[in-house]
């Protein structure tokens, strides 16, 4: 029983990390502030906060999915429910760090909103509800999404360093060529998934 749940947990986590990577497979949570992180440390921090919030709120989200399942107007109730869970975790994190860990608070404060109200997060919850995941799968999927998001930010940072030393045409410098680069990575991952459009 426990082993089975652990298996579900890890499989869904790996799927969310590699095959259905939030950024590369579904382009979720993609914005300029994420693409143009100053340092890899900032990227890892941003992804880490997202991982924490996703994992913590997914525990509540699993409950929301369980309650909402089969209720009338489910699609209406879902989003507010998710928003409630995420806002609870967000406020808890904010206040706790502000009171107890001021140093940590000063570090994470600029990245907290970006990582919290992020399409990657809510997208992970929606996918877990569309696939009617159980508790362990939901938590695992959220965790995998967060880790995959962090890895993606890291990869994109080094892609920028690589592209900085090639004579990219002036119109393509910065965001456009980076998008083409991500496009090819996403193409490679799509070859692994095979035919199956992201919902």
């Amino acid at each position: 029983m426990l082993l089975e749940n652990l298996y579900l947990f890890f499989t869904s986590a790996m799927v969310a990390l590699a095959m259905e990577n939030a950024i590369f497979a579904r382009s979720l949570g993609l914005s300029r502030s994420v693409l143009f992180m100053k340092t890899p440390g900032a990227g890892i921090l941003c992804g880490g906060i997202l991982t924490w919030i996703a994992t913590a709120s997914s525990v509540l989200v699993a409950g929301v999915n369980y309650l909402v399942e089969g209720a009338p107007y489910a699609s209406f109730i879902r989003m507010p429910g998710y928003l409630l869970c995420v806002c609870l975790v967000y406020a808890a994190t904010y206040l706790y760090t502000k009171k107890k860990r001021p140093a940590l608070f000063r570090v994470i404060r600029p990245y907290l909103p970006i990582s919290t109200f992020n399409t990657a997060l809510f997208g992970a919850f929606y996918i877990s509800s569309l696939k009617s995941f159980g508790f362990f799968q939901t938590v695992g999927y959220a965790l995998g999404t967060g880790v995959g998001y962090t890895i993606a930010i890291y990869v994109i940072y080094y892609a920028r360093k690589r592209l900085a030393i090639s004579p990219v045409p002036r119109s393509f410098r910065g965001l456009p060529v980076l998008l083409v680069y991500i496009g090819f990575l996403s193409l490679a991952i799509y070859g692994l998934i095979g035919h199956g459009l992201p919902s």
Partner: protein, 358 residues
């Protein structure tokens, strides 16, 4: 088997200049100059101070590094354990040290004997480059009973291993070029002031390449006329073919003490100026184990942030990366620029270890 080897074996176009007899092409006035100080009674056992003073008076200069010879002799008298005659001509077309060593042998030996008296050591050896494939006259094992150390391997492996030899006991060895020895001998025995130097005149559009003993101060144009030009060269080089300096004004450029060769080439500009195809050959041949391709790209995009990783200060400026580059890029120039940047930004003075001192 180029695929398993690191480094590159250059085709040494030393012939025909190498085996031809050395021709004197001198200015009579300067050639007649002597030193005021009367020669010692018996030059064979002249005193150390005499030799040093004569060398100073005659203005004998080492053609390896333009230093006056008497300073080297003074340093050698204090603390020298070995004397090394540098006849390493590893660059193609250049044979201006090895040819005098083989052709005016007794003069070299006489000069060497004087150095031996100064340095008070018996540890004497000649250093030559063995991988000269196209020479007609063979390299002897010993010259005057003294061993001839042969450096083998790809260019610039000789420079590398010579550095290995020279670095340990830094400064405690006397390294002289053959030209300096010959001039020292002449100064002591015939009281002649050094007014000439040995150079090689060769290249793809020189009519009859040869080794010359020319007066210092003659212009490059005169020397080239002496040997004749078969075609109008697109680049005239003063110095070695790999590390020399291109001459812009042939009239204004003169032969100096340290000029080793004057080369005239004619190249077709068609196969030039492609963009880098990233073949990575420059990294396979770099003797210092550097990564010239990335250094070149960083420098071209003026993105110096990552250069710290690439140890550009270890470059030995041999020019192999540019030589091998199939796109004819000026990689070596970029690496030199990066080396300057690294030396003034990343490296504390005294940390760089690749300097070759005599």
């Amino acid at each position: 088997m180029a695929m398993f080897r690191k480094g590159v074996l250059l085709a040494q176009h030393k012939e025909p200049a190498f085996s031809k007899p050395i021709v004197r092409f001198v200015n009579p006035q300067t050639d007649r100059m002597t030193i005021e100080r009367e020669p010692p009674a018996n030059p064979a056992r002249a005193g150390v101070s005499d030799i040093v003073e004569i060398a100073q008076a005659a203005g004998v200069t080492d053609e390896r590094d333009g230093k006056p010879l008497y300073k080297k002799l003074l340093r050698a008298r204090e603390r020298a354990v070995a004397v090394l005659v540098d006849a390493v001509d590893d660059e193609p077309y250049v044979s201006s040290r090895i040819a005098p060593l083989l052709q005016c042998r007794e003069e070299v030996l006489g000069g060497l004997a004087l150095c031996k008296q100064v340095a008070q050591t018996t540890n004497i050896s000649f250093v030559v480059y063995q991988s000269i494939t196209d020479q007609k006259l063979g390299l002897p094992r010993t010259i005057g009973g003294m061993p001839v150390v042969r450096l083998r391997g790809a260019y610039p492996a000789p420079a590398q291993s010579a550095k290995m030899k020279m670095r340990e006991e830094k400064g405690r060895r006397l390294i002289v070029g053959t030209g300096a020895l010959i001039h020292l001998y002449r100064a002591v025995w015939r009281a002649k002031r050094q007014s000439t130097t040995f150079i090689t005149v060769a290249g793809s559009c020189v009519a009859n390449p040869m080794n010359l003993e020319v007066s210092i101060g003659l212009s490059v144009d005169q020397v080239l006329e002496r040997c004749g030009l078969s075609a109008e060269p697109t680049r005239v080089v003063c110095g070695g073919s790999m590390t020399g300096i291109a001459v812009l004004d042939r009239d204004a450029t003169c032969v100096t003490h340290t000029t080793r060769a004057i080369l005239a080439f004619r190249e077709n500009k068609k196969d030039a100026l492609f963009s880098c195809i990233g073949c990575g050959r420059c990294e396979q041949v770099c003797p210092a184990g550097l990564n010239p391709m990335y250094i070149h790209r960083f420098v071209e995009n003026s993105y110096y942030a990552n250069l710290r990783l690439f140890d550009a200060h270890m470059c030995v400026e041999c020019g192999t990366c540019s030589y091998i580059c199939p796109s004819r890029l000026t990689v070596a120039a970029s690496v030199a620029k990066a080396k300057e940047y690294a030396l003034c930004h990343f490296i504390q003075p005294g940390e760089e270890t690749d300097e070759l001192d005599g």
